[in-house]
């Protein structure tokens, strides 16, 4: 469904992504793990068209989207929930959800949109009780849920999530991960970037390890969970073993 090859990207003179390649198949949950500053956010931004790649190619649904702007990419069914709860803070929760369905208003899907909003309220009940509140006044966790719900309103074929658990209480993190799992059972395809490598690998089918702009490793979640380097660097196994 998504295939990127030898992508090079960065900011100004700074090269952040160095020849990264990866793919996501329909119905999969794929995760990218890596330390701070590895380039995960930049990579997702490049796929979504927020940053332009300098080299390489990005194919989505067999179409070349390398040079498309982000609104065109979203219209093709590839949605990004960006890092750090980018909600429309001066608009209400309901309006945020409506904006998520922006591309569908053009197609005249008004009734489906209304029923999808109800669906989002079932998925995230807190949003319903806050529907007329300004999004900027929601708590961090609520904003993150809204950002995810807003992206889902566009009925993306592929949903990319950039650290959905960042700065959230463990209970909310659990909730968000169970929602991600639920989304897959609805047939969604997901590309997930996470600091919380263990939780991410536990729900993902496959994973990529990224450091300093390179993809170092790739494999099924099981392989990565059992990999010694991954355990040492991202899962904190070493620490536990010393204690044992």
């Amino acid at each position: 469904m998504l295939r990127i090859r030898n992508v090079v990207a960065g900011y100004g003179n700074l090269t952040v992504i160095r020849r990264a390649s990866l793919h996501v198949k329909t119905g999969e949950i794929v995760t990218i793990i890596g330390g701070n500053g590895a380039g995960k956010t930049t990579l997702l931004g490049t796929i979504a068209g927020i940053n332009q790649s300098r080299e390489g190619e990005i194919f989505f649904d067999n179409h070349d989207i390398t040079k498309l702007s982000s609104d065109k990419i979203t219209s093709r069914g590839l949605s990004l929930v960006p890092e750090g709860r980018q909600v429309f803070s001066s608009m209400t929760v309901l309006e945020n959800l409506e904006m998520g369905a922006f591309i569908r208003y053009r197609k005249g899907e008004k009734d489906e949109i209304i029923s999808d909003i109800e669906k989002m309220y079932r998925l995230f009940p807190i949003l319903e009780s806050r529907k007329h509140q300004q999004a900027g006044t929601l708590s961090g966790g609520e904003q993150q849920m809204l950002a995810i719900a807003r992206a889902l309103m566009g009925r993306p074929k592929l949903l990319m999530l950039d650290e959905p658990s960042l700065g959230l209480a463990p209970i909310i993190v659990q909730q968000i991960f169970s929602i991600i799992k639920e989304l897959r059972s609805f047939g969604n395809t997901i590309l997930l970037v996470e600091q919380n490598a263990k939780a991410a690998l536990n729900i993902a089918d496959r994973g990529y390890v990224m450091e300093t702009g390179h993809i170092l490793l790739e494999g099924t979640s099981k392989e990565l969970l059992e990999n010694k380097d991954v355990q040492r660097a991202y899962l904190g196994k070493e620490y536990r073993r010393i204690n044992e």
Binding site: G49, S69, L80, F88, M99, G154
Partner: protein
């Protein structure tokens, strides 16, 4: 001062004030979607006035006004398309210089197309000497046209921004550009639209005010300064603030005429502007959001 006088000044104040409010709202529409303060906003009023004055010699007044609004809206689109869109690195200072340059360009073009003569549209109802009495003070019915049109513009914009998908997506752009693009909203289109909308409401305001204040190739400058002051007064970006700011400045200006010579009328607005910039840069009704926006550039 007699009661009639107070009413007289008050109504004169809210009449010009409502026009300042519309100019301020024009500033805000563009500012909110792009972060640009468009100093050519006053020229949209001048163009609306001038074009309708020319057309009214050939077609009935309502058609002349509609055509003037459409043509000015088209000019707003072309302006953005030609001079704004291509700017690679739109820093606030650079954009201010460009829009000031554009305002000079439009003014000079208008001087060439028309001339330096002062013109005006005919009164919409009656003529110069028709008057209606409100609480003993006498007014031209045009005052009602101005107030009614301004109110209509405000109601229309309110509806547009609160209830239509396009209006909401413009607000989404204003709130968070990247997130808006990620929702599939075409930012370039929204920027174009903000210029078209600002130009259109500016042109309409320029038409209704023409019989009262008259129109000349350079009348946009002072309107832009008044409107800008109103926008700053109410807090850049806030439309309620723009309306309040416009009306208050209109009233202050009208009242000042009774105390100091007419020639200093513009100085009053500038004094207000400086006062706000020094003491309340976020505007009279500053909330954290607007003030931080104004403080930064």
């Amino acid at each position: 001062m007699s009661f009639e006088n107070v009413i007289q000044y008050f109504i004169a104040g809210i009449t010009t004030g409502s026009i300042y409010a519309i100019v301020a709202i024009g500033f805000n529409i563009i500012y909110n979607t792009t972060g640009i303060i468009n100093f050519a906003q006053g020229e949209f009023l001048m163009l609306g006035g001038m074009i309708s004055i020319t057309l009214v010699q050939f077609v009935p007044l309502p058609f002349a006004i509609c055509a003037a609004v459409l043509i000015t809206a088209g000019a707003g689109y072309l302006l953005e398309r030609t001079f704004i869109r291509g700017i690679k690195n739109p820093t606030p200072l650079r954009m201010i210089i460009i829009t000031i340059g554009l305002s000079i360009l439009i003014r000079e073009a208008a001087l060439h197309i028309w001339d330096e003569k002062v013109r005006s549209l005919p009164y919409f109802t009656g003529n110069e000497i028709t008057s209606i009495a409100i609480f003993g003070a006498h007014f031209s019915p045009q005052v009602l046209w101005v107030l009614g049109t301004s109110a209509l513009i405000v109601v229309f914009l309110n509806f547009f921004f609160s209830y239509t998908t396009t209006g909401k997506s413009m607000r989404a752009c204003a709130s968070n550009r990247i997130a808006a693009a990620l929702c599939g909203i075409d930012i370039t289109k929204m920027v174009s639209l903000s210029f078209v909308l600002s130009a259109a409401i500016g042109a309409l305001a320029g038409c209704v005010i023409s019989p009262i204040t008259q129109t000349q190739y350079d009348c946009g400058t002072s309107l832009a300064i008044k409107g800008f002051t109103a926008a700053i007064f109410g807090g850049m970006g806030s439309s309620t603030g723009a309306i309040a700011g416009g009306l208050i400045i209109g009233i202050i200006e009208a009242a000042s005429i009774s105390i100091i010579p007419l020639a200093y009328k513009d100085a009053i607005t500038l004094t207000v502007l400086l006062g706000i910039l020094i003491f309340r840069p976020g505007g009279l009704f500053a909330n954290g959001d607007a003030s931080s926006k104004v403080d930064r550039p």
